[in-house]
Symmetry: D3
Subunit: 227 residues, 6 copies
């Protein structure tokens, strides 16, 4: 259960191989492989284009205007983790900058997902430390109140349990429950397997209407062509 003032140290991280496998596919493919679930809201955008990461969620629950727990989080990072920071209420402050990024990277974090603001984005971009956030804001925070580490959180509309697999790219962020990581990676692989063939057909001018055999169901649904 979600609670304040708690740091859970023993969490079950998703299988490393499965997490790596998920990182071979984009967010769109992984989310389709999960049955079109698990995607965060499109308000979450990368601070620079081109990043694609996968990792295990270290969750942080923050209060508006207070980033103290991000410092606590740094002490819990294991190599391969992605820090996922949620808030108890909406806030646009800049909770994270280049010093924290330096620390996170030193501990092995692959990136940050935060449902709030981030700053020092030029330096973060130069460092190649990827962040997905709700906004960019120079506005700083205080260090005065306790949130929690590694409790279940809702981040940008998605439930994240500590240890869940996270995949993030230019399309956004998807959460894969730890127990489903392996199965989802396989389903993603299967989806990709026949995409090349489909792409070749479509590039040759074959219509999806024919390739996916949609003409009959469309007609049944009542579609009328009018000249």
């Amino acid at each position: 259960m979600t609670e304040l003032g708690v740091v859970r140290r023993k969490i079950r991280r998703a299988d490393r191989a499965a997490v790596e496998a998920l990182g071979r596919y984009g967010v769109a493919t992984v989310h389709e492989a999960m049955g079109r679930l698990g995607v965060m809201k499109p308000t979450m955008r990368p601070i620079y284009p081109g990043a694609l990461i996968s990792g295990t969620a270290l969750t942080v629950l923050l209060h508006p205007g207070d980033n103290w727990m991000l410092h606590v989080a740094a002490g819990e990072i294991e190599p391969g983790d992605i820090v996922v920071a949620a808030l108890t209420a909406d806030c646009t402050d800049g909770f994270f900058g280049d010093l924290l990024a330096t620390s996170f990277r030193a501990r092995g974090a692959k990136g940050l997902i935060i449902d709030a603001g981030v700053r020092d984005v030029r330096t973060l971009t130069e460092m190649g430390f990827p962040v997905w956030s709700k906004c960019v804001s120079a506005k700083g925070t205080v260090k005065a109140t306790l949130g929690s580490i590694n409790v279940p959180v809702v981040c940008a509309g998605a439930l994240v349990n500590p240890g869940d697999a996270i995949v993030a790219d230019d399309d956004g962020v998807v959460v894969v429950p730890a127990a489903a990581a392996q199965k989802t990676a396989e389903a993603a692989a299967a989806r990709e397997a026949n995409e090349g063939d489909k792409r070749a057909k479509l590039a040759a001018g074959v219509l999806g209407l024919d390739m996916y055999k949609m003409r009959e169901p469309l007609e049944k649904a009542g579609l009328r062509y009018i000249d």
Copy 2:
């Protein structure tokens, strides 16, 4: 009239030469040439910078969460078309990705304008297939309900009739009624003709106040300079 479940096949596309001429000017110039009308809301943003396209509108009316009609649209594309997709209600789902883009391109589409979300933006960028959308979202859609093709639609606040001329660039998207394409292209050309001269004067330090003879009307309106 706007109707559901209909594919209109015979539409009058704006004059090809006029559409190409419009493509020589940016959206801002074209919209000024129309009398400051026809621009879509600034919520419509390109997925990558630098694209400038002009074409004829193939309109699509979609339901929230359902992209079936984009597959139907592919079958109606003629070279030089720009697909303009409107929704019956606001939705942020990712309706369009690289497979559909491959198909659209194979049919000759120059780009997509969609008042909803788009995904696979990294691949679309690599392909150089330009999309203007309300957001980027990995969240997929179903294929279950009928919209329409080539009916009048309202996309991001602008009325688009099938066959209208569309111009899109980094400033957004403008719609030119098919019947006004030629006249608008000429007006745009006229606007641009004397811009070079104006730019040179302004660059030399001449004030717009003097170049546009604004000092007298400003004084009449009551402007007071206070030392």
Copy 3:
């Protein structure tokens, strides 16, 4: 006091050396040096990444849909100024384009901050004329009503007095009262002085928890570690 129809010509600009000094630090550092105040809302975004400017505010008060006063503003620009344009009510129109930018640059302006829309962003980017705005919009404006020049304005939530120091970069925009520019530049320098040392320690794996001596206050606040 804020008034309409007025152009104030004699304003006290912040000390030039102090303004230049502020430009050596990012917006985040300057705003921290001011006590975490003075930052505009994160809705203000640069039209291209990588710009960092500092200058003195020439303020403009505009009505929705009317950019007449930007032409008046051009006549008041002194080298080193940054034009800061506020609105009497929210509006997304594109108030500023490449012709005005050419004029502003010829007069010595370093950039524009506008709580509304801007257009011709491709050309502005090619010119390297930086703009921070609420949105990009091709929609043009009229020239019919009077606002004011060099009156106090509220721009994107921040109070700006004419002559105040402005710093803008990828993180946003901060306003430093003219009288506080020197002191703030010194405080920013002091902040940066020991950042290199901190960064090195954090990069070496030292935790902020230890470097900032947070463990005791966290324990006092009641933080519990659970295995």
Copy 4:
């Protein structure tokens, strides 16, 4: 075509009897009778609860921050009209207050639909003059630039042609093309005819699953009940 600076005086208003008939049904019913089309965005809210009006659209195209054309509109109102005001770009100003309402009522207007702000809402409520708007704002406007009267407009995402039938209630606003008013009123009547029967059954505990015979299609679609 939409144009600026024009007042069209001869418009074809929807059949009066049909418009009155539409007023017997709520917006939800009318919009269903049209095939789930024609509804304005849910940003349009009534200034007080309980109003239900139907009438013929007198359209107004306004610029941001300028309400001059509403005064021109007053001169064109015929009894039974509903003024529908659209903007060339988003604006939250208060374009309309109790004096204009007094004038509109004296001319026979049944209400106002405006995709912007309104003010004097307490007085308007006392007068019982209903307005659907995007917001309430005390911020006034100027009278300096020309829009148009009785041109096609897009208001809150819906296309409105002069003379179209408008129905507005607590659920929002729907536009019925003049030519479809009669047919839509009949379809609405048909929908309502069997609602009483349905309501009685549902009130008695009959499930929609059974009443609408949904169990089989749900099963076919793959729905699984798990104990």
Copy 5:
């Protein structure tokens, strides 16, 4: 785990007595009693003022634009349930109206919480069937795709498990995990117990500064009074 196409029939509802006890306190008190957690986003507003309900969550996962599962939900309602409807992506459609409300009430539902739109609000108000929603919209939906019933959902930023206790009033909506319902009701009671005394003191002019003994900590934090 969240899954599509599933109806879970056996859920553990929060203890009835505890749920009823929670209904004696407002949402603000209950959420404080939980440690300031569990509140849905303030975008969730009641369709009429004055309602206060508590009940057990019957969760529904819907796709944008499709309300089929609300009909399925009706068949699962037990007296005392509150239906909590979440969406797989943002949508403003009107998913729920008076016919469904009639059915829900006949089955014993106490109200609806839906992170989307609702319609027929005048009739719902007359019926006294309370709904908390993101918006009011006449725009209807289709019945074509499967969501789920009684899976964990994220509704307006809050995680809701089937059977959780829900309290809703003019301040919004709070979710109490079923297992914490009893303890939370007790904590809420304790909070209220000494509120009367506090209120009397404050009404008599005693300052919270003194009543809560804040003067010393404020001084320690550095607060300066300046004459």
Copy 6:
């Protein structure tokens, strides 16, 4: 200058008689009397309809998620004050409820203006303690960090200096600089004086076009009537 950690005790309140006089007019009239300036953004809404207050501003600067300074503010209230609370960054938390309202009222406050959330709105409505806020939210705050009292603040886009006159009603909130209160009250009185006459004429069917002599300037501006 705006500073943190400061309580200014000696402020110059606007003239009491002028403030009372301003309270006789609505916000729209007062703002027009000021030259269409001083209005807060339309995001500020009253928690119940029908309230109209005027008073002198006691300003509070708060951090997101922290309402400590509202308790400090209570100690500074003088009869006739309106507390105006601004935030250093956007936040939707519920900073204020019925206990604070009891205390504020006991000290003589006439109401609260807060650019954030408020809760206990049912009780506040029963108490008749009016609040204008950005939202309603049950989400509570902490008491951990210092803001300031009676420093200049920007609240919902308007600059408020301590002691300024505030008027608030169903149309929103307007700020009148203390030094301009008397003059503004007189200008408001003058505006209202001839409104009765105008209203009577308009009610009798006289057009604003004629009453305000707009026909000639409209014609000059190029307005064309088309039959």
